[in-house]
């Protein structure tokens, strides 16, 4: 028997430690190019995770291995405890690719019908078309659809097997701001039912806005893994701003957790990795008031983490084709 009205939390409460995605020491080489250089990754059922990184970081290579489209050179990939291909045949995984993957001479409805016919468990064509917001163009030839409509069609095709894991590889490339927003609204709404969502993006704001967790890739390695807030703090720390008459920069720099400090009249700015400690100190040990804590934008965090100043000596992929 099953509980059909389960909330996402209840739904995953008894997953028995089974992970949606597990990567162990995964390497992928293309000839002498090392696209992925030892990635470990564990994603729990129900998480919405962004793989963020610049072009050539290994995002697509990683997703292709999770989807079983390519095999790791070494290391192990499992999805819901099975081989990716097995998970695909059971309809557990589906994906929205960046481009291609559509037949121009079929209609939108026929494309979904065709895809649905290949799975043992499937949802009705009408249902997935309406969830993707394209029920109005079911009879339109795919070749006549706009880029945004085609992307929604790919989304509809991905929903048709009612997958547990939805992988999206830079799904909004080439879409305008409004198209992107409504596309993500549809994904987000869908994920509320407890689906695991993994998406690759190089749009920082997209990762920040739509993911619960961000895995930052750079040159085929995971360089950061955490919530958007953690990522931002990790790279950039936070700035604690307060009104504190009579403070000196030397005194402020002495506060536990503080990195740098600046005094502007009565206003002090303390830059800190552990901003909580600094704030606690200021409020309990000094007369500071009007406390304000700000993080640097994720854009800056991203640049700080993926910048090339600590570039490894060799083996870094540089071709965009590997992104």
């Amino acid at each position: 028997m099953t509980i059909s009205s389960a909330t996402p939390e209840m739904r995953w409460s008894d997953a028995g430690g089974l992970q949606a995605i597990e990567l162990h020491a995964v390497h992928k080489h293309f000839g002498s190019v090392q696209a992925v250089r030892g990635v470990d990754m564990t994603i729990s059922p129900g998480e919405i995770v962004a793989i963020l990184g610049p072009n050539g970081a290994g995002k697509t290579t990683t997703i292709d291995m999770i989807l079983g489209l390519s095999q790791p050179t070494s290391g192990a990939v499992s999805v819901f405890g099975m081989q990716p291909r097995q998970a695909i045949t059971k309809g557990l995984i589906s994906a929205v690719m960046q481009t291609g993957g559509l037949l121009k001479d079929l209609t939108v409805g026929e494309t979904v019908e065709y895809t649905a016919s290949l799975f043992a468990r499937r949802q009705t064509v009408h249902d997935v078309l309406s969830r993707a917001g394209i029920e109005g163009i079911a009879d339109r030839r795919v070749g006549k659809c706009s880029g945004g409509e085609q992307q929604r069609l790919r989304f509809a095709m991905a929903l048709v097997s009612d997958p547990e894991l939805l992988a999206l590889d830079e799904p909004t490339t080439g879409m305008d701001v409004e198209g992107r927003r409504s596309f993500w609204a549809a994904i987000r709404k869908d994920a509320e039912q407890g689906r695991t969502v993994l998406f690759a993006t190089h749009y920082l704001e997209e990762a920040d806005a739509y993911a619960d967790r961000i895995i930052l890739l750079r040159h085929g390695l995971v360089v950061a893994d955490g919530t958007a807030a953690q990522i931002k703090a990790m790279a950039a720390g936070r700035t604690v701003r307060a009104t504190l008459p009579g403070a000196t920069e030397d005194m402020l720099r002495g506060i536990p957790g503080a990195d740098t400090a600046e005094v502007r009249g009565e206003t002090v700015l303390v830059h800190a990795t552990d901003s909580d400690a600094v704030a606690r100190y200021l409020l309990t040990n000094t007369a500071a008031r009007d406390l304000e804590i700000t993080a640097r934008g994720i854009e800056e965090a991203f640049l700080a983490l993926t910048g090339d100043e600590t570039e490894p000596a060799s083996g870094a992929p540089s071709t965009g084709a590997l992104s």
Partner: protein
């Protein structure tokens, strides 16, 4: 009362792979519909054989001359049905090329559809279109009441042409995996026209110059063309025809398998 499994683990257990590697009639129907949407394919497989028959088979001085158990009109009709069926078979296989170019093959790898089921679907699509082509040609041949052969030969010959066209389903698949282009059928039309001439579908090989005739006998439509006319002519099977068909079948099938393996190798 037994323990209540979570919806998640129960859901995972309930999931299964589709039967027959994903092969199904809905997809097959859509494949056929796609082929029928291609105007070039429809014209060449359904219209060309009929028009050619009306132009070159009917009311000619030779039309009513005897040919084996029937007449020349029947002979011409069979040749043109073979042309249509071969084109249909090639079209079905060559769809692969278009699908690879448009990224559909990659998309299908994200579904349970197995490679054998995919190939089976392509071959059946070819056969369905080929059956339509042969049927249209034979029906027109019958209605115009000039082609003549015993009743059973209409059926036997139609089946020979239809099943024989499978040789070109293998050819289409080979070309489909070899040529990654959306315009593969333009090239195929040309190649098939040349092979049809060489195989004697339009003009009997016996009327070629001796040097050309010797070359023509090695081409892939020659043996098949001879074999499908054998029931009508009742002249017995020459073993070189069989060797021709089998040799080309092996070449096409091996080529298709080789390219297919290369294509589906998961790097």
């Amino acid at each position: 009362m037994s323990t209540v499994p979570s919806t998640f683990t129960a859901d995972l257990k309930a999931r299964r792979a589709p039967a027959l590697g994903g092969f199904n009639l809905t997809a097959l129907r859509l494949e056929v519909r796609r082929l029928l949407r291609n105007r070039r394919t429809v014209v060449i497989t359904m219209v060309f054989p009929v028009v050619f028959y009306l132009l070159f088979g009917l009311h000619k001085s030779y039309s009513k001359l005897p040919a084996g158990h029937g007449n020349i009109a029947a002979f011409v009709m069979i040749s043109l049905a073979l042309y249509g069926a071969v084109f249909a078979a090639t079209s079905g296989g060559a769809l692969v090329s278009i699908e690879r170019a448009q990224g559909w093959s990659r998309q299908l790898r994200l579904t349970p559809l197995s490679p054998p089921a995919y190939i089976t679907m392509k071959v059946l699509t070819s056969l369905i279109l080929g059956a339509g082509s042969v049927a249209v040609t034979f029906v027109v041949g019958r209605l115009t009441a000039e082609a003549s052969m015993p009743g059973y030969l209409w059926i036997v010959t139609a089946l020979c042409v239809w099943i024989g066209s499978l040789l070109f389903a293998a050819f289409g698949l080979f070309m489909g995996y070899l040529l990654p282009t959306e315009n593969v059928m333009q090239l195929m039309s040309l190649i098939l026209a040349v092979l049809s001439f060489a195989g004697g579908l339009f003009i009997p090989v016996s009327q070629f110059a001796p040097a050309v005739r010797d070359i023509a006998k090695w081409t892939p439509l020659y043996g098949l063309n001879q074999l499908v006319h054998t029931p009508l002519l009742g002249n017995g099977v020459d073993w070189t025809w069989v060797v021709n068909v089998l040799a080309w079948l092996i070449i096409f099938a091996a080529g298709a398998t080789w390219r297919f393996r290369k294509d589906t190798a998961r790097g």
